[in-house]
């Protein structure tokens, strides 16, 4: 196709500067919880949802999508790793290991 016909959009210079980053969480059809699936750029939440639908769910029915502006997420700091996450190994009563799970119980 010659240049006059197959346009790529004369005004189509890529400019994602104004498009903030969004994090996408997907719950699959039989899934119990939303799982982080990835991120994308979008101008607002509605467009982020639509883009997430194309990128992360292939439009299969019955899924749930959450989109969150990346800026709204507060992450734990790697520096505080030890005091923050160290398990209290000397306090076994904190672990739910003293119960027998009845047969047939799923998703506990």
């Amino acid at each position: 196709m010659n240049g006059t016909d197959s346009t790529g959009g004369e005004g189509g210079a890529t400019r994602t500067g104004g498009w903030p980053l969004w994090e996408v969480f997907v719950r699959s059809r039989r899934g119990l919880s939303h799982t982080h699936a990835g991120s994308l750029h979008a101008p607002d939440a509605e467009m982020a949802l639509r883009n997430a639908r194309d990128l992360y769910t292939r439009r299969s029915e019955g899924v749930s999508l959450w989109v969150v502006p990346s800026a709204a997420i507060t992450a734990s700091s790697p520096d505080e790793k030890d005091p923050f996450f160290e398990p209290a190994a000397d306090k076994p009563y904190r672990h739910p290991t003293f119960y027998e799970v009845p047969e047939g119980v799923r998703n506990l």
């Binding site: 346009t7 790529g8 959009g9 750029h41």
Partner: protein, 237 residues
């Protein structure tokens, strides 16, 4: 390739298949050129849906490759709207809005057609995508508003042809046209765009696609699309 008898259901299905194939080809030309990566995926998605619709219809009519690659321009029955060049992004979106609204209403009426029940969900998604972009561009900046208005004005003349009845399809064409007018006018108004003159009458129109008469750029589209098949006829791939 024997052509379906005009006025038959097969002729109507061929027209719908040609619409889908040609618009799919146009959207494919955006690959690698869309304004952002996410939009690239969306346009490719829509193109793939349309190609799927075309293949389903073609395979009900004969050899899908022969139908796509071995017919001359005059044998294609697609409406002229879908063969219009991509232009800028606004022109692509407006073309998509006009056509997807038409397809959604058309397939919505064709409840007994085997393709329609599957395709109506796809085209509802295409219309939603085009509608949101029309609102964004029309009600965006002065530049995007002007470009979108230009696209609306430029493509308007090709919309009247959409409502030429295709015989043997169980469609109420005047209701289809009335619904299309209402919906498109609603989106354009919300997008702060002006509905062109002749919204009700479609007084100023181009047409002929359904009769095999096409606009100039369509021949180049076919030349590119059919090149390999014509150079190596009979090859399997």
């Amino acid at each position: 390739m024997p052509e379906p008898e005009p006025g038959t259901l097969a002729a109507a299905e061929l027209a719908l298949a040609d619409d889908a194939l040609v618009l799919s080809q146009r959207l494919g030309q955006w690959a690698g050129h869309a304004p952002v990566l996410e939009e690239e995926v969306a346009l490719a998605n829509i193109a793939l849906d349309l190609l799927g619709q075309a293949r389903t219809l073609y395979s009900g009519l004969g050899d899908e490759d022969a139908l796509a690659f071995l017919r001359e321009e005059r044998a294609f029955r697609n409406c002229q709207l879908v063969e219009q060049p991509n232009g800028d992004f606004a022109a692509t979106i407006v073309r998509q809005l006009f056509f997807s609204t038409y397809q959604e209403l058309l397939y919505g009426q064709l409840t007994t057609h085997p393709l329609a029940t599957k395709a109506v969900r796809e085209v509802a998604y295409h219309r939603d995508h085009a509608e949101h972009w029309t609102l964004r561009l029309g009600d965006g900046t002065t530049e995007s508003h002007d470009r979108t208005q230009r696209a609306v004005d430029g493509l308007w003349r090709h919309t009247g042809e959409l409502f030429q009845p295709l015989p043997e399809l169980d469609v109420d064409w005047s209701a289809l046209r009335a619904d299309w007018d209402t919906r498109v006018a609603d989106v354009l108004t919300r997008a702060t765009l002006r509905v062109p003159e002749g919204a009700q009458g479609h007084g100023w129109k181009a047409g002929g696609g359904r009769q095999g008469l096409h606009t100039e750029s369509f021949g180049r589209l076919l030349a590119e699309m059919q090149h390999l098949h014509r150079s190596h006829p009979g090859a399997t791939w």
